[in-house]
């Protein structure tokens, strides 16, 4: 958190190096989050692009009050919501890009895990956006329910409910695959 504050301060002074560090630090995290919310690689990349460009434009005036990670996640969430609203179709075809699987050297295991994650992505894209947002922001974004509630102007219990419903739906969709 402190490191982020220093990076933000350096950005305020126009440091390109600090801006690059922020980008490198959060790009994958934000892309994963955006892709989880939008289920589409190109749209997720656009959102991450827009978030960083807007952040850069305002960097000299930007004041970090909470965590930078939380702030950027909030930006991604807001832009993703705008994109969802703008879409004519709610659910779009999943990208053919394969997810990257951490920590597995066994090719067979990698294939299984890749398939598992592809199913998960499909399932995530099918749950209502509000629930998807709560699940992704909490589990992937590492945000607390209280923070998500603040972001959306809703009560903590509503967010908790959405999270639970979302998780239950995901579980039931993936039941046959994950309940081994």
């Amino acid at each position: 958190m402190l490191e982020d504050k220093l990076l933000v301060l350096k950005c305020r002074r126009g440091s390109k190096d600090a801006m690059c560090r922020i980008y490198v630090k959060y790009k994958d995290y934000l892309l994963t989050l955006a892709k989880g919310l939008l289920s589409e690689q190109a749209a997720a990349e656009d959102v991450v692009h827009d978030v960083f460009v807007r952040f850069a434009r305002s960097a000299r005036r930007f004041q970090l009050t909470g965590s930078l990670r939380g702030y950027l996640a909030t930006c991604v969430s807001n832009l993703a919501r705008d994109k969802i609203r703008a879409r004519t179709r709610q659910a779009e075809a999943l990208d053919s890009v394969n997810p990257i699987i951490p920590g597995s050297d066994n090719p067979e295991q990698r294939l299984i895990e890749r398939e598992e994650l592809t199913r998960l992505r499909q399932a995530i894209s099918q749950i209502p956006y509000e629930q998807r947002e709560a699940v992704m922001l909490h589990l992937k974004g590492g945000m607390k329910f209280r923070e998500i509630a603040k972001l959306q102007g809703l009560s903590v219990s509503t967010i908790h409910g959405r999270y639970r419903y979302g998780l239950d739906k995901l579980r039931s969709m993936l039941n046959s695959e994950v309940e081994k």
Binding site: M1, L2, E3, K5, L9, C11, G14, K16, M19, C20, Y23, K27, D28, Y29, L31, T32, K35, G36, E45, H49, V51, F52, V53, R54, F55, A56, R57, S58, A59, R60, R61, F62, Q63, S67, C75, N78, L79, V97, P99, I100, I101, P102, G103, L120, V135, K140, G141, G142, K150, L151, G153, S155, V156, L167, D168, R171, L174, N175, V178, E179
Partner: protein, 578 residues
């Protein structure tokens, strides 16, 4: 594993990486946007503190929290360093302000339009939240906040309890408040203050009469970006107003303070209806009892003791800790050497001698550096070599080792004041107030939370405890506590009254599984029969650290050790970047 856990695990393991093309495209646009932003300026604003002092009844929470922390931070850290008379006078006023029973605070922030183009929840709800009033009690530490829209919060620091009232739903929620977050915020704000207010910055003093009150105004310029004015009552010599103006951003923040003899007793005293529904989010009784038991055990640790702590890097897996921030890991490359200030790559071990007596503390720090850049293999060899020369078997051996050397730093904490000594590059004695030098225990001590006892910074119970389980462990039956929103699991040994194994998951990194940290504690007894973690093994990002603690709570500690006036250059080792 339960299906829900499996889904959670799968989601946490989702990881997309950006392509090189995307990086190039985004970074190009980002750097262009950054360069273009240089040309943008915004309108300046005008101070209105006098009007606010007379009329204002509204505040904003962020500014309220900020000013209190800033006030205390300013006084605690920057204050003693001030050399100019105006600074000294302002410093004294801030000290006077914090030596009161209660501080009542009202603040107004002039909303800036979110220039990031991303609408916030505040804007979406069309409900400004800048009406906030707060009361802070320094002793005991309590904090009340009341928003203009009816929301009310109360944090009881001593009980680590938070109460919040939602007026729309007429619900009072009671839960745990995380004190470690508070100290972290405190630390961050302090750091921000340090950067925002360079030492030796000019402070201009003038006297004004506002609303028939004679006020001394201290104005501190920020090199064209804006200024801060501190309004001090000439009679009471306390701060009664602060105004910050950010010219560049076109933002203005004003604070008004007064010091009542008494404050609200509880959340109901601020207008919460007695018939509001109470939602208790405190942990179940058995967990709370467990936590209380652990806390009582923690509090029972002797206040006066001598200890030796050794933190040693045991394995190297491609990342090295930054010399500027030991919690920041960097890939081991040629750039690392440049960043880490020359040939001192990283401290391979840090031995700290701690003397504590009557609430005062002195620490002597002996780092052992890896001094030459080499290949990762060469780095590992150096680590092994260093590990061999540092005796970690006994207190006596470590103490003898330090006696043959000079510390790179001596830190003396007397009540809430810090004195940090180190030699400068020119060989002269420097008394510093660099926040990087402060350990979380110091900051906690400044909030009147006593974390000086050596083992206690190894874990933190100030989290919401959500689950209870049991697991056979090397110390017998252990009780599991999931802490902090499923981000940590700790195993508590009911026999010895301490947590002895923790698995922490840090979500801050871009790659979640990198943040996994495992901490294993082994216990020893002091001469007074107290158990304490003698050996701690922590694995962070595949890098293993070993912490060894020896505590002697039966040793006579000379009061002279805390006399910071007698510390000279001869007591310290030559300058070393840390």
């Amino acid at each position: 594993m339960r299906p829900a856990d499996n889904v959670k695990r799968l989601i946490k393991n989702l990881n997309d990486t950006t392509s090189a093309e995307m990086d190039e495209r985004v970074l190009g646009d980002v750097l262009r946007a950054l360069a273009e932003s240089e040309k943008t300026t915004s309108a300046s604003t005008k101070p209105t503190i006098g009007r606010i002092i007379m009329k204002s009844k509204i505040t904003r929470f962020a500014a309220a929290a900020c000013v209190v922390v800033v006030l205390v931070g300013w006084w605690l850290f920057v204050g003693p360093e001030m050399v100019q008379s105006a600074y000294a006078e302002l410093n004294q006023a801030i000290e006077n302000s914090t030596n009161t029973e209660w501080m009542h605070h009202v603040s107004v922030i002039y909303h800036r339009v979110d220039s990031n183009g991303v609408s916030t929840w505040i804007e979406r709800k069309k409900k400004p939240i800048d009406d906030v009033e707060s009361w802070l009690s320094f002793r005991p530490s309590k904090y009340f906040r009341k928003w203009g829209d009816g929301r009310i919060e109360f944090i009881d620091f001593a009980k680590r309890r938070g109460y919040s009232y939602n007026p729309e739903r007429k619900i009072v929620t009671i839960g745990y408040e995380n004190a470690s977050d508070l100290t972290q915020d405190f630390d961050s704000l302090y750091k921000m203050m340090q950067l925002r207010v360079p030492k030796g910055d000019h402070v201009i003093k003038r006297v004004e009469e506002i609303n028939e009150k004679r006020l001394t105004v201290f104005r501190e310029e920020e090199s064209g970006e804006g200024y801060t004015e501190w309004f001090v009552d000439s009679k009471t010599k306390r701060v009664v107003g602060i105004e910050e103006v950010d010219v560049e951003q076109g933002e203005k923040r004003a604070e008004v303070l007064d010091y009542p003899e008494d404050g609200p007793e509880n959340i109901y005293a601020l207008g919460v209806p007695n018939n509001a529904t109470v939602v208790n989010e405190l942990p179940p009784r058995e967990i709370e009892e467990l936590v209380n038991k652990a806390r009582a055990a923690e509090n029972g640790f002797p206040q006066d003791f001598f200890s030796v702590e050794c933190k040693m890097l045991k394995s190297f897996e491609g990342l090295v800790p930054s010399t500027r921030n030991p919690n920041w890991y960097m890939p081991f490359t040629e750039d690392t050497r440049l960043y880490n200030l020359g040939d001192r790559i990283a401290p391979a071990a840090v031995i700290t001698i701690v003397y504590c007596k009557n609430g005062n503390c002195r620490r002597e720090i002996y780092p052992v550096w890896i001094t030459k850049y080499s290949t990762p293999e060469g780095y590992r060899k150096q680590l092994k070599k260093i590990a061999k020369i540092i005796p970690t078997d006994s207190l006596g051996a470590l103490e003898t080792w330090t006696k043959n050397r000079l510390p790179s730093q001596i830190i003396v904490s007397i009540r809430r004041k810090m004195h940090v000594f180190q030699l400068g590059e020119d060989g002269t004695l420097k008394s510093r107030s660099d926040p990087d030098r402060y350990d979380p225990r110091d900051r906690a001590a400044m909030l009147n939370i006593n974390f000086w006892r050596p083992p206690n910074n190894r874990y933190d119970l100030d989290h919401y405890c959500a689950d209870l389980g049991e697991k056979p462990g090397r110390w017998g039956e252990l009780v599991g506590i999931a802490i902090g929103d499923e981000q940590a699991e700790c195993y508590f040994n009911p026999v010895r009254n301490f947590i002895c194994e923790c698995v922490l998951v840090d979500h801050s990194g871009p790659v979640p599984w990198r943040g996994h940290r495992r901490i294993v504690l082994e216990y020893a007894k002091t001469s007074c029969g107290r158990w304490y973690p003698r050996r701690t093994r922590a694995v962070w990002d595949k890098t293993t650290y070993l912490f060894v603690n020896f505590v002697d709570d039966n040793r006579r500690i000379d009061q002279k050790l805390f006399d910071h006036d007698v510390i000279s250059a001869a007591d310290l080792a030559p300058f070393a970047p840390e």
